[in-house]
Symmetry: C2
Subunit: 204 residues, 2 copies
């Protein structure tokens, strides 16, 4: 546990927001888990809503930016050609420097905002996801023969990211359809292959 109560509140709050969603999360539960008084949330953040936004700004966005950094780092070590981009992207997402629970919270918060957008989504997209998408697009365009229209690259990047997101978002569905929890790397390999073939549409 962090010593600083403010940081502790952010940590506990993110966990609960990710687990139960914004409205189903009670300020009382946050504060009791953080071992402090009910009024602390209002003192440090000025209300439940602002606490939520602070979680997005101070925890979610930095993490999204770190994923992008990780992607760039992977890019140097990955095979050349456009396939290397997919490789680097999947590594950044699935062998990220975060714990499994942390990644889970990260995806969960995004999924909730996609299902029910609020002003927080705007922050996530413009400050976190867009930079990642642009970086992917640039590195992909660099590895592509010249003349491929930017718009097509953009659409493909969007689908690539879609593969990694959907893989997580629809986890409960996979389980229902494939029966018992399938091995992680079998799924991962399949989704990556699927994405790689989709990429082929750009090169011909």
């Amino acid at each position: 546990m962090e010593r600083d109560l403010r940081q502790r509140l952010l940590t506990v709050a993110e966990d609960l927001f990710a687990r139960r969603g914004y409205t189903e999360t009670r300020v009382r539960e946050i504060t009791s888990r953080a071992g402090c008084n009910l009024a602390a949330v209002n003192y440090h953040f000025g209300g439940k809503r602002n606490l939520y936004l602070a979680v997005i700004e101070e925890r979610w966005v930095p993490r999204a930016l770190r994923i992008r950094e990780e992607f760039v780092r992977n890019l140097h070590r990955s095979p050349s050609g456009p396939e290397g981009v997919v490789e680097a992207l999947f590594r950044a997402f699935f062998q990220s420097p975060f714990t499994e629970r942390e990644s889970w919270r990260h995806r969960r918060l995004l999924a909730q905002e996609l299902a029910q957008p609020t002003e927080a989504l705007e922050i996530m997209l413009s400050r976190g996801l867009r930079p990642l998408l642009e970086t992917i697009r640039e590195s992909l365009q660099d590895r592509l023969p010249p003349g491929v229209p930017e718009r097509r690259v953009r659409l493909t990047v969007f689908s690539l990211l879609g593969q990694t997101l959907y893989f997580h978002l629809a986890r409960p569905m996979i389980q229902n359809f494939l029966g018992e929890s399938p091995p992680e790397d079998e799924l991962l390999r399949h989704v990556k292959d699927f994405a790689l073939r989709g990429l082929k549409g750009l090169t011909g």
Copy 2:
């Protein structure tokens, strides 16, 4: 508007549940929009939660089953070979017999349950989506050379459905990344192509 108050409540409730989510929807708003008394929800359904489950059972599931029927119908008119399956699937989803708003509600309710699963998701999956997935799988396997392992087909079907779902779920993201609302059919064509290429992994 339906004459029957019970049906009217289901209609209004589905719309609000889809727009605001379960907890953010107020029983008072449902009843006032349905033009009846607050107590009607408890009289006809026995509580807010049961009204929500009734919406899933009596509106969402039947619609999911109709999409499957539409898929089967399309299958006869679509080109032979595995590509025809993708064709039929996309038509069932995007040229469905429902209004745009109805499709929107349908997807929204699913997205919310995926982002925050409750017992309702279990109903949606087992009674609505699984039948569709199984039907797709069977028709795909029929059009595939024998010997392709069922598990691989299953994974591919899952990804195909993923393309159609993601296309909708992530709509706010597309807008942010592509700038101004892109033409519907451009997106549709791209996603379908992406899915078609992914399918190639099974045939060769």
